[in-house]
Amino acid sequence: MQLILPMLVQGAQMALVVLLAPLLTGLVRKLKARLTRRRGAPVTQPWRDILKLLQKEAVVADSASWLYRAAPYLIFAATWVAAALVPTFATHLQFSWTADLIAIVALLGSARFFLALAGMDVGTAFGGLGASREMMFATLAEPAMLLITFALALIAGSTQLSTIAAVMAGPAVGLRVSLGMALVALIIVALAENGRIPVDNPATHLELTMVHEAMVLEYSGRHLAMIELAASLKLLLYLSLIACVFVPWGLAAPGQGLAAHLAGLLAYLGKIAVGAVALALFETAIAKMRVFRVPDFLGIALMLGLLGTLLLFVSARL
């Protein structure tokens, strides 16, 4: 039991995130449609798209190399592994010790690295455009993420997500300004990393405003399916991350029974749903920014992350 349960939890989570991710995307789209008084496609539409794409023939540009064809699988795998390591409904994942928060973020960086390379592989203007902008956003988002990590680690004394979640769920933390700042910063980073409004518009194919879509413009068929799936997974991952760190209640702890795990799962689904609603509301309420306004936006996250960290020192001194 001591060994099997974490293994089971781990397996369940891996399956769960893959299944859930396209549904989350579908849910957000649906909610946004409803908010703009459209009926919208069903929640399962992303899944249908993916399955459809998987069946199709892949059209690859003449100038594309092997990297172009391998990248979608690598991107998917890296994102999946990262998502599998963020506690969703239980903290005691079998392999949670494989990576801490920094490594998870870096793994997403690896995925982005391959995505950007794939965007440049065909040798078109759009791919490069998307890649260069994506890397610029990441350049600012990553330090912000590290400072958020720093603030969290300062409170929890650890960068292991399970430990952080356990500490945050405990009574010792309380309400802190720093945490609020970290939360806001994390949300900003999440918006940027997932190419959501106001940083990027996942629904656009308007040439000059594309970032993520520009990179994957040449992809088709199963390759596109893998990339879409990876993008959905990434969104889910960030929501799970926010949920796990800032609302860690309901997470099943090691040694608890099946009921606790089921409760955890329900709580998790609830949290994700709330997150989806919040995201849809936010995206509907706000307009997309110009590309060169985004650095200022991300700069806010950077400042908040730094302030959050420094304030912790101040409060610790007081």
Binding site: A77, G119, L147
Partner: protein
């Protein structure tokens, strides 16, 4: 073992004159012999690290009444290992690289001797032998930089390089003067035994930062590095960036961590921002650089910055009696130094292969090389991933350790350090993210896309020895990324020697998980990471191919329906850098874009020019050069005086001295 290492150093140095005599005839044999000796050195160093013993030897050369003191301890053994591995790969690659060199005498004698001189620096145990080897090392690398002496840029680079090297040596000379005292106690043992006050510590530290820092490429003394490293032939660039900067690091470690004795905490406050700033500046320069080898050299500056920041942390922890944390920071720095040796050598060799195949260093004339040079491209991908600090490769493993050390800083008692370190951590993260951008750019522009010039379209795969050397280095990168614990255990004796502390034994951890402090705090397992990714990617691919479609059709690129045939319509090096140049470069690099648009009706092409410059040039070097120029122009008037005026000078001095005498008595 020290005797063997000394013999190796002697043999390598002796190979220089031998090569000079034999000329180009035995080129392959000589480079192969060099590679063999270097490999032997690596083995020897590994054995010495394993035993962690300290050996001493005195040779009757060098300073007359002192002799040359040599010593092999874990610290020097670790750097000898770096040197052996880097030297072996570079010499291997040299076999192929120089095979068709028109003037073999311009590199052949210097390369082995350069390795030997670096080894001598590492083995030296007194100030004189140390500085002598140090300067010989600079001199030989200078000769190598000038191998392509017909290029004006190389001559200029050589001049700036050796002048900076002389500056550094003078700083070291002063530092050792202070350490040795007026009686001239030049042996390291004597220096170690002398207690010193805070002023002296501060001076030595400042001088070491100038001396070793200028060699390593610490800002603002880094300007020579992007000039000199690329100007040399690529195997030499690999050695200079991969190994020689580490020798500079060794000098810093030896003096500040070993000879200087306890250092106050504020030494760290000086070092950490310097390192973090260097990292950001270096990589920012790399993101706008359009010359493939210069880009790599700028990235060297970044990594040196990271290492120095980690060393600063180690100093802080040591000063505050936190040996375990200090050992973590030091191990992170050393591990990163090792990783950088492997990945930067790999990248430089690959860049050399690229330049050799296309005849150009301009990124904007490359493109699509992944089709023409598949092996080089694959190996370069490993290097690019590694240096961009991405898991599961080795660059990430060491940067992760650095961040772990950063995360331990809240325990430091000094408020200024508490505030400084998180900010520095943010800068390091910025540098890592920028590195990813820089290497996506390098790899994407040079190896992916379509060829931008006929040379790139006709490129051929690199020569076999270079590919072998690159494969070795790539294997090192992968091994250090997947099994960082084993590497960290290997360098534990160094931390124990310098700090009397070490990391927890990594080999004992379950699954060889990297556990710098405690399992509950932070762990990372590169092996499992890689395994998971490989498994899930493989699984996904197999599943998709089996269960869904495997049909594939080649077609022209879609490109939103308006495909452009011209290869220049691709994103190039300049365009890729544009967002970052605008966001960060405008202020930091005073980047400017100007568009000269012809008036309506005029058929001449519009011009878009981009300028970006290293702020250190404008702030420091240009005024200095101007001052020397002005002073020499003023002084030069004394060459054109009449005899009467010269006599007036004599007369004036006489009267002055007599006046002084009258007033003095």
């Amino acid at each position: 073992m020290l005797e063997a290492a000394t013999l190796l150093a002697g043999a390598l140095i002796a190979l220089g004159p031998i090569a000079l005599l034999f000329g180009g005839r035995a080129q392959t044999a000589l480079y192969a012999l060099t590679a063999l000796l270097a490999a032997g050195l690596a083995g020897l160093a590994l054995a010495a690290l394993a035993t962690a013993a300290t050996a001493r030897l005195t040779l009757p050369i060098g300073l007359p009444w002192l002799g040359a003191h040599l010593r092999l301890d874990p610290l020097s053994a670790f750097f000898a290992l770096l040197l052996g591995l880097g030297g072996c790969a570079a010499s291997l690659s040299a076999i192929g690289y120089f095979r068709h060199s028109p003037e073999p005498r311009r590199t052949l004698p210097f390369l082995p001797a350069f390795l030997g001189a670096m080894l001598a620096v590492i083995l030296a145990d007194d100030a004189f032998s140390f500085l002598m080897s140090w300067e010989i090392m600079s001199l030989l690398s200078w000769a190598l930089v000038l191998a392509d002496h017909r290029a004006e840029a190389a001559r200029r680079a050589g001049f700036v390089y050796l002048t900076m090297a002389a500056f550094g040596t003078l700083a070291l000379l002063l530092a050792f003067g202070l350490l040795a005292g007026p009686q001239g106690a030049y042996t390291f043992d004597a220096i170690r035994a002398t207690p010193r006050g805070p002023l002296s510590v501060a001076l030595v530290l400042a001088l070491m930062l100038l001396g070793a820092g200028s060699k390593a490429g610490l800002a603002p003394l880094h300007v020579w590095l992007p000039m000199a490293h690329p100007a040399a032939p690529s195997p030499v660039s690999a050695l200079m960036s991969g190994v020689m900067t580490k020798v500079a690091l060794y000098a810093f470690l030896r003096v500040v961590f070993d000879l200087l004795g306890p250092t106050p905490w504020w030494t760290a406050a000086a070092l950490i921002p310097l390192g973090a700033g260097t990292a950001v500046l270096g990589i920012l320069l790399a993101t706008v650089e359009t010359d493939i080898k210069r880009l790599l050299a700028c990235s060297t500056i970044e990594n040196i910055g990271v290492i120095f920041a980690a060393l600063g942390l180690a100093l802080a922890f040591r000063a505050d009696a936190m040996p375990a944390a200090a050992a973590l920071a030091l191990s992170a720095a050393l591990f990163h130094a090792f990783n950088h040796m492997a990945m930067k050598s790999l990248l430089f060799l690959g860049a050399g292969a690229t330049v050799g195949a296309t005849g150009t260093r301009a990124l904007d004339r490359l493109g699509g090389l992944i089709h023409r040079m598949p092996v080089t491209a694959a190996l370069m991908l490993v290097g690019a991933l590694a240096i961009a600090a991405l898991p599961p490769l080795n660059g990430f493993a060491s940067e992760w350790l650095v961040f772990q050390a950063v995360l331990l800083s809240p325990a430091l008692p000094q408020a200024s350090l508490q505030l400084l370190v998180p900010a520095a951590g943010g800068l390091l993260a910025l540098a890592a993210a920028l590195a990813a951008a820089a290497f996506v750019r390098l790899y994407g522009v040079a190896f992916l896309g379509r060829p931008r010039s006929p040379e790139a379209a006709a490129a051929r795969e690199a020569d076999r020895p270079t590919l072998v050397a690159m494969s070795l280095l790539a294997a090192l990168c992968i091994a250090a990324g997947l099994l960082p614990g084993l590497f960290l255990d290997t360098l534990a004796p160094v931390a124990r020697q310098l700090l009397q502390a070490r990391l927890p034994a990594q080999a004992a951890q379950p699954w060889l998980t990297l556990t710098p402090v405690a399992a509950a705090r932070s762990t990372y397992n590169g092996l499992l990471f890689a395994l998971f990714i490989a498994l899930s990617a493989g699984l996904a691919a197999v599943a998709v191919h089996r269960l869904a479609s495997r049909a594939l059709r080649r077609a022209p690129a879609w490109d939103c329906g308006f495909p452009q045939d011209l290869p220049n319509s691709q994103y190039g090096a300049g365009s890729f850098a544009q967002p970052l140049r605008r966001v960060l470069g405008t202020t930091l690099l005073s980047a400017r874009e100007t568009v000269a648009m012809p008036p309506p009706g005029d058929l001449s092409p519009a011009r878009h020019t981009v300028q970006a410059s290293d702020p250190a040039w404008a702030a420091l070097y240009a005024p200095l050069a101007g001052a020397v120029e002005a002073a020499s122009r003023k002084a030069n008037r004394f060459q054109f005086l009449t005899i009467r005026r010269y006599l007036s000078l004599v007369f004036a001095l006489l009267v002055l001295l007599l006046l002084g005498l009258a007033l003095w008595s």
